[in-house]
Symmetry: C2
Subunit: 220 residues, 2 copies
């Protein structure tokens, strides 16, 4: 066996290009509304037509691309309306998830939350590369809710995070708000370990809505 594959998709060409392309889409490598030139993607990612189209099909299925019959794939537009929709659903779903996570989380979950929080805090202080911070940030939020015992809830929340990140990562840096958000991450760890349900639920909502303010700057 290969030693501890980080990327679960890495077993096939199609899976690899799916992951790389997803990252590139989240990072705004392609303009919102842009049509993807398949021939050009083939060259960029050094991949054959079939696995590339499979990857594009899957990305469309999860809403990271739009597929128009007979006229290829486009990057979806960014609108403040859709962002609002995403935010409201995040508040509801993550609210439910964090309550259940506190209820079902065991000692091992506590350790993972603590560890993920620590890694994120370090990365925020030292100026690690943006890509690395993003990964730790995604990981932190995932771990926090991981013990909620609902596969489908986690699936949907992950999808909403991906969508949200298309907006957030495109928005201009805001150091003032950034500081508050970082502080909230630390408070989330504390409240999680202390199992303060009402408080953490409120804080998580505040956190999402504050991120919303930042992300809003990405759509004019």
């Amino acid at each position: 066996m290969t030693k501890n594959a980080v990327h679960k998709e890495s077993g096939s060409m199609s899976g690899r290009v799916f992951e790389v392309l997803r990252e590139d889409l989240l990072n705004g490598q392609y303009q919102a509304g842009e049509k993807l030139a398949i021939a050009s993607l083939r060259a960029t990612y050094q991949i054959g037509l079939s696995p590339l189209r499979e990857a594009l099909s899957r990305l469309a299925a999860v809403g990271l691309l739009e597929q128009e019959s007979q006229r290829g794939f486009r990057v979806p537009k960014l609108t403040s309306d859709e962002l609002q929709d995403i935010v409201e659903l995040r508040v509801e779903l993550e609210g439910m998830a964090i309550s259940r996570a506190l209820r079902y989380g065991d000692a091992n979950w506590e350790s993972e939350v603590l560890a993920a929080g620590h890694r994120l805090k370090n990365a925020s202080n030292k100026g690690v590369p943006q890509a690395e911070w993003e990964q730790l940030h995604t990981q932190f939020h995932a771990v926090l809710l991981s013990s909620c015992q609902s596969v489908w809830m986690l699936k949907f929340i992950r999808q909403l995070h991906e969508q949200f990140d298309r907006y957030r990562r495109k928005a201009p840096r805001n150091p003032a708000i950034r500081g508050t958000l970082d502080a909230q991450h630390e408070q989330l760890v504390e409240l999680a370990l202390a199992r303060k349900e009402a408080e953490i639920r409120q804080l998580l909502e505040d956190h999402i809505r504050l991120s919303h303010e930042v992300a809003l700057q990405s759509c004019a």
Copy 2:
């Protein structure tokens, strides 16, 4: 333009086989846990390898298939645990959706609810073919929530319905419960038009949980 395409996917081979295969999966044409033989599917659906694989990739992306790297596609197993997960999420999401649907629904929405309810009632009385009833039933629940103004909520609810139907359609008929469920559909129409939020929310939850009882019979 072609006249009023019912199936939005019908513009491509890949899209058509996606829809047909989805229906077949929901109707239990393939055993839970079964591995799909691609060569055989190619023959069955009279389609080339590339569009078939694209369709399978998309089905896997929405959870109607599982893809194991380098070893093809399988039909996911049915477990009462997962069914429970799906039901709880349906209750939460459809609860939110119906409240918003009442808030934002206009006169046109009322007409559509009335019409969809009527079509379903007729189909339930006369013994229309099962496939037709299923389509009207899906349509009814979709229309009821359609005015909720949240694209993402509707997307997730549709996905949960598909999953739920894998269980329900496989379960044995239960005429007694079936009668109650049919009656609930009619009550849902009445309460929707009367904008009785608390009542309809409760009824929708009852409806989902009663369906749960039926669907449970599909996993031993």
